[in-house]
């Protein structure tokens, strides 16, 4: 299946839910509505022509724009057809909540935890949403654009000499 066939299949099934599609350097990215991500995920996993069963990655991007500040990107792969596709959702800053896809791809568990740790995007329905890399007491989200590279002084404890 080529990229345009995948787009056609998704559009006939979901119509308005597909907000945008983009092809760049041979890769296909499909932006869908945030609330419908679980339905789209189930469809692309179970449909035999698509069969995207391997979750490669789930990450967040801070676009630092007033509308839909964050984006969550899911990179998925089909073992039968040997192709990649990216699903993208836009998340607002005021309500950074996205339904979790761990019901569809259990391997997205730690990736979503990392996205929560780095950006502060909560995943509703996640079995175990806690910080991944930073200590639990850390109060900030490091990969946001307004967090400085050297960190905030005294935000992490250091033992005394």
């Amino acid at each position: 299946m080529t990229n345009s066939e995948v787009i056609a299949k998704l559009k006939t099934r979901f119509g308005d839910t597909v907000l945008a599609t983009e092809e760049f350097r041979g890769d296909l990215t499909v932006t869908v509505k945030k609330e419908e991500i679980v339905r789209v995920a189930e469809f692309v996993k179970t449909e035999p022509d698509l069969a995207f069963d391997l979750i490669i990655d789930a990450l967040g991007v801070d676009m630092y724009r007033p509308e839909g500040r964050f984006e969550v990107v899911y990179i998925i792969y089909s073992l039968n057809h040997k192709r990649y596709v990216r699903l993208k959702v836009r998340v607002d800053e005021e309500n950074p909540v996205v339904p979790t896809v761990t019901g569809v791809w259990p391997g997205a568990n730690w990736h979503e935890r990392e996205t929560f740790d780095m950006f502060g995007i909560r995943f509703s329905g996640h079995p175990d949403l806690r910080r991944m890399y930073m200590p639990e007491e850390f109060e900030h989200h490091p990969l946001r654009k307004d967090f400085p590279l050297m960190g905030i002084p005294d935000s992490l404890p250091l033992p005394r000499r």
């Binding site: 069963d53 490669i56 990179i75 259990p106």
Partner: protein, 418 residues
Amino acid sequence: MPVRTPEETKKSQILAALEDQDTTVVVDDALENEMVLNMGPQHPATHGVLRLLVRLDGETVVAVVPELGYLHRGYEKIAENATYHEFIPHTDRLDYLSPLSNNVAYVLAVEKLAGIEAPRRAQYIRVLVCEMARVASHLVAVGSMAMDVGALTVLLWTFREREKLLDIYDVLCGARFTTSYTRIGGLQQDWTAQCTGMLNQFLEEFKQDLAEVEALLQTNRIFVDRCEGVGYLSQANCIAMGLTGPLLRAAGVPRDLRRDNPYLIYPELDFAVITATESDALARFYVRIAEMKESAKILRQALDRLPEGPYNAFEPKKVPANKERTYTKMEELIHDFMLVNLGIDPPVGESYGAVESSKGELGFYIVSDGTGQPWRLKIRSPSMTNLQALPMMLKGGMISDIVAIIGSLDPVMGEADK
């Protein structure tokens, strides 16, 4: 008359007072208590700083919670503040057992985004270097798994082999270990005849040495008993958890990026994709040994077909020219200045480039905003995704299996923690 010490007097007084009290002690059934054991970040067998919280019922593992983050160095934030070239040394330190394959993976992802293609000689050398890195990494993986299970000799032998490869890196890249050898559009320096001679010698000796290691372990009753049937994960679970690399291939799924989504000049080479079906620690060990033999085959083929030609692409606005032209010609000097200070300017967009590293699929997802520094760079690390399956593999096993299973997973914390 015997003299009593004050302690004896006190003791007899206490015993007298207790005589008419009920002194039977009731303890909960000791075997009903479960214990939480902390295999802390500093541990000989956790392959780096991995913390495992293990809930034990006697010696049986009930549940495991891994905790990562003890080596989180903030790579992705550093990448947003550095140009594409400046990030190349950082990629060395990701999977620090095979630094050259990380270099190649990153540079391929950036070249895909920027639309540059390296010349054929550079691609052949990159394949050579990637496969050498795969052999080096598998040598350490096999050696440390054997050491964790008890066979210390194997580690010393595999490190001796690895030293020969590190000597080749020394001559080729200038550094033994963290090489930073590839550049966007090509390589740092050329492959020389001395490297060819050293690699030829290595390939001659490697077959024999690998056979020695195999002979030591393959029929060793203790090793086989300790690893067989341990850490089993069904194929469906492997796919559901997103595993890649030797773990997925040991479960019977023949996925290898070099064959499925080929990059560099792999379509022209002849090699087999090794799979096994048992999906336990022993199967993964055999997959790694067989992959080393396939890598030796690939090295032989690529070395025989190495073409002549330039080793850097001719893209004046993206790839710096060689130093002689930079110091003598005006245009090249200006380009060099712009590239070093401001970076290459790939078009606005996002792309994902991945290679098959020794641990699995190592990918870089780059969001570019048109400037010389990436807007977002996400490292898809195979070790982190592979570690996700650890609780499922450990459940129901014994404590002593934990070590064998982690050895068969072969995580590298520099990659898992980014």
